[in-house]
Symmetry: C2
Subunit: 209 residues, 2 copies
Amino acid sequence: MREVPEQQVIATGLPAALSVAGTVISCDAGVTVFHAGQPARAVYFLVSGSVRLVRYGRAGEEVSLHEARPGEFFAEASLDSDCYHCDAIANESSELLQFLAPAMRNHLASDVTLSREWMALLARQLRTARTRVERLSLKNAAERIRHLLYSEGRGDRCEVTLPGTFKELARELGLSHEALYRTLATMVREGIIEREGMTLRFKESASRI
Amino acid sequence: MREVPEQQVIATGLPAALSVAGTVISCDAGVTVFHAGQPARAVYFLVSGSVRLVRYGRAGEEVSLHEARPGEFFAEASLDSDCYHCDAIANESSELLQFLAPAMRNHLASDVTLSREWMALLARQLRTARTRVERLSLKNAAERIRHLLYSEGRGDRCEVTLPGTFKELARELGLSHEALYRTLATMVREGIIEREGMTLRFKESASRI
DNA sequence: CGTCGCATTGATATCGCTCAAATCCGGTGG
DNA sequence: CCACCGGATTTGAGCGATATCAATGCGACG
């Protein structure tokens, strides 16, 4: 994890007011950006790569809380929290912008546009998280996949192209990867969905919820 | 759902700046405050009673997204959204404060203190939702109950007193109520937890995570 | 007192997890 | 160019946990 303070980066999705306030950080796959329990010093913006936020179950297994994608902030909720509540680990070689919490709070207090954007961002993340709660509350695998397509899909056939692997999707859906593969295969066999590589869609125009 | 515009209410947990800006609404058990798909006209603050936010599965069954408790806002995420994304239904006779979205946006733009409180509130809700995601990602019922105690419990024995019924808790945990009762009974029998009416706690001082 | 919904426990079926093994694919080194 | 390696993908078999259906008790409420 090496810091490159003077570099100038235009990052898509970054509020204009923040374009010069961040510290660029590059980190390799597997590097931990921060640990749960550490004082929450900064908020991060993912420029490129991918970072996962995880906690650990009693058996030591990872539980995925969130997968940050380029153009997203993460650890935003830590702005008014004493310490981080999860680990942040780079899935691949990634570039981050780091915004120290005190500076960020100042910006938010003085810039109305930024604070509006920030509230919108938090609200969006909140909706996303609640959608995921809803999905995980469904009892069976096929329903979770349907729900994924309905809530994330584009167009009337609810097309989704996976950003990662099927194993990652399985974790996101709270399933073992075997269960996911099997359920997908069954749904394709039954003519419910189509699959082309990493793209999924309904076979028929979506019969609503 | 009857509106009582002139009433003056001191509501605990409500930011001071909003204490005079809301419309008091009283509604009986079962009344729908808003429907999914309706234009998002307002944000609500629950003064007393309880309101659940739900969507509906394919079989028409309710899927609980959130249970608002007194002192909480709900539909906060709808401030920058065109329409509501779920139904809000009163579980019991409840009192709400309604804040129309345009007025709310004005307040947020002009009052830095309020906007800071609002961001903190969104961040808190976000953390809560992510904790719930984490909980639902656990594979078995006992782990989910442990997780609930660890993340919501008070004191070194992680004591939790349920705000609602065990059936509601079961929905919150993504379990059937039968599975919840059985798992609780087993955990009590095995000396892992204690149960006194609606209060749960670990038998031993919490062995961390 | 009757009814309704929660609480509780039993029986059974099913779904998804676990272990296992084979294949595929991209990358790496010779 | 090819052999090899690791991780993703895919399918099989068996088991265990949870859902589902069912029945009963119990307390609140009209």
